[in-house]
């Protein structure tokens, strides 16, 4: 695991990005935040394309920047996947890939064959970038960046220029990169669905500073960050394991409790991340019978959040995980719910983390 230490400030016109954070690079870290929060600038500074006005950037044991000392982009070994691909128009796909191999600053385990196979580029090698679709272009761009055997891959909204089916397809390729190639990713996006699908951790930016850094679940569940992460969309993130598929349904195990949902493509034994909107969780104080909702999970009321609206939010504990439920204040009073009480959480709908549609 490589540690990336960021402590710098950079000015762009009226905007100042000032970052102080240390990130353990492993898997995928989403750089998330509203537009104008400095996400792309952060990536460009990490890659060495923009130079901070002051500060220090260290990756592992290499000092990349310590004003005025500066390691230029071409010596940093940071693979960059741009929003728009940026393939070289005067070369074929293969020429683009060979360019990366030829100029790579370090030899490493990633070979032409690996990259071509992992991103299914066999049939594209002779083509010119101008003849590629957006999705194909991004696949080539990812392979090209990987072929330099980078210490770190940074991606700047690589899906934003694609249509929905294409997004899903490219996301599947990106998802496999850290594991297949052992290259950590810094992934800029403003789409929370992409974060949930692809990221292990979030670096949350707001108005040019780091608002939070931590695991996806932990960050999305922090109510103080909802203005930045989006309250409704946060809901709850649950981790479950796929048990089996049967008659069009997938059975999952949620800390030992059974959860069923329409069939998914996840393999049996695979750990998946589920997203449940608070408004899709109803509460019963007795085990319900003859009910259309199939998922009734035993839970404990950990916290009751009351605000000035007619709604309240319950934070329910399920084993070590928590689930939010949004019910009316009236229902809360009628059911006489109190902290520590055991209830049944009726989950009306579950979204598996394939929500890029």
């Amino acid at each position: 695991m490589t540690r990336l230490e960021l402590d710098f400030a950079i000015t762009r016109g009226d905007f100042e990005l000032s970052v102080a954070a240390a990130i353990e690079l492993a898997g995928t870290t989403a750089v998330f935040g509203p537009s104008g929060s400095g996400k792309t600038t952060l990536l460009r500074v990490v890659a060495g394309l923009d130079r901070p006005k002051r500060g220090r950037i260290v990756c592992g044991d290499v000092v990349w920047h310590d004003t005025p000392a500066h390691v230029p982009a071409y010596e940093r070994r940071v693979g960059y996947v741009f929003q728009d691909g940026r393939l070289f128009a005067h070369m074929t796909v293969e020429g683009n890939l060979r360019f990366a191999l030829r100029h790579a600053r370090a030899s490493g385990p990633i070979t032409m064959r690996d990259a071509v196979a992992a991103l299914d580029l066999d049939r594209l090698l002779e083509r010119r970038p101008a003849s590629l679709s957006g999705g194909e272009e991004q696949r080539v761009a990812i392979a090209r960046a990987l072929l330099t055997n980078p210490r770190l891959l940074v991606m700047d909204e690589p899906l934003s220029s694609l249509d929905t089916p294409r997004r899903r397809e490219i996301a599947a390729y990106i998802e496999r990169v850290p594991e297949t190639f052992g290259v950590p990713i810094l992934y800029v996006t403003h789409d929370i669905d992409e974060v949930i699908r692809l990221a292990d951790r979030i670096l949350l930016l707001s108005r040019g500073t780091v608002a939070a850094f931590g695991g996806v679940k932990e960050i999305l569940e922090r109510s103080d960050l909802w203005p930045l992460t989006g309250r409704l969309e946060a809901g709850s993130i649950l981790e479950a394991v796929v048990v089996a598929h049967a008659s069009g349904m997938t059975e999952l195990s949620l800390d030992g409790q059974k959860l069923r949902m329409p069939q998914t493509t996840a393999r049996a034994g695979e750990a998946v991340r589920l997203r449940v909107h608070a408004r899709d969780v109803a509460i019963a104080t007795q085990r319900p019978v003859r009910l259309s909702i199939r998922n009734a999970i035993t839970a404990r009321v950990d916290r009751i959040e009351v605000d000035e609206t007619v709604y309240v939010e319950l934070v329910l504990g399920i084993g070590t995980q928590s689930l939010r439920s949004r019910i009316t204040r009236e229902a809360l009073e009628e059911l006489e719910l109190v902290r520590g009480q055991t209830v049944y959480a009726l989950i009306k709908s579950v979204v598996l983390d394939e929500p890029l549609a």
């Binding site: 071409y74 070994r77 960059y80 070289f88 790579a104 330099t148």
Partner: protein, 227 residues
């Protein structure tokens, strides 16, 4: 009908070739700087580069004559160095042509580098290519149309110059008597057959050059260069 003297044509071709080579070497870094700099001095430099487009060749020729004459610093230095004068010599013509055709090399290259833009250069840097490697393997091939324009236009423009040559070089056969001067002299001495031949060669050549430029190079605005 006397003997046709093709010497001036040959001399013009030599002059144009040398000018093109020198201009590419000088204009490339300047065009690169103009394309990517954000310095305020850019406008000043652009104006200076464009001066030969608007100055009467005789004005340019006059200043060059003064600057390169043996009495001046530059001209005196050249005499000390080579024992010949810079004015009324082939070397002097080369200097004058380089200056006279300067915008015809800088502007197409600058436009081409601007249209290449920073994006592919940054991509190349993140792939590990040094700035020089990026220039040779990414920027130059992408700016190829600009190079074709610059080469063809400077060659043709040098071939056609008259006023500057007359001021700086005079009319010395084999040394400064280029094709445009020869035509002028043929007309003066009423040798229209000679003038016809040389003029026709230049006319056909110029047309072919422009045809090549406009065919290959529809996207780089040649009109900007031709005024």
């Amino acid at each position: 009908m006397g003997q046709f003297d093709l010497g001036p044509l040959w001399l013009s071709a030599q002059l144009a070739s040398v000018t093109v080579v020198l201009l590419l070497i000088i204009a490339t870094p300047l065009a690169w700087w103009l394309a990517f700099t954000r310095a305020r001095s850019r406008a000043v430099i652009e104006a200076v580069v464009a001066l030969p487009l608007v100055l009467p060749p005789t004005v340019l020729g006059f200043y060059l004559l003064v600057l390169m004459g043996p009495a001046s610093t530059i001209g005196g230095f050249w005499v000390a160095l080579t024992d010949t004068t810079l004015t009324f010599s082939f070397a002097g013509l080369v200097v004058a042509s380089v200056i006279y055709s300067f915008p015809f090399a800088v502007q197409p290259l600058q436009t081409a580098f601007e249209s290449v833009g920073k994006a592919p250069l940054e991509a190349a840097a993140t792939l590990g290519a040094s700035p020089l490697q990026t220039f040779w393997r990414v920027a130059s091939p992408l700016a190829l149309r600009g190079y074709v324009s610059a080469i063809v236009l400077t060659f043709a423009h040098t071939l056609g110059e008259f006023g500057v040559v007359l001021m700086v070089g005079g009319n010395i056969p084999g040394s400064t008597r280029v094709v445009s001067i020869a035509i002028f002299e043929h007309v003066e001495t009423i040798r229209y057959d000679q003038a016809h031949l040389l003029s026709a060669v230049l006319l056909i050549f110029s047309f072919c050059v422009l045809l090549v430029v406009y065919t290959l190079n529809r996207r780089v605005p040649v009109a900007r260069v031709l005024g």
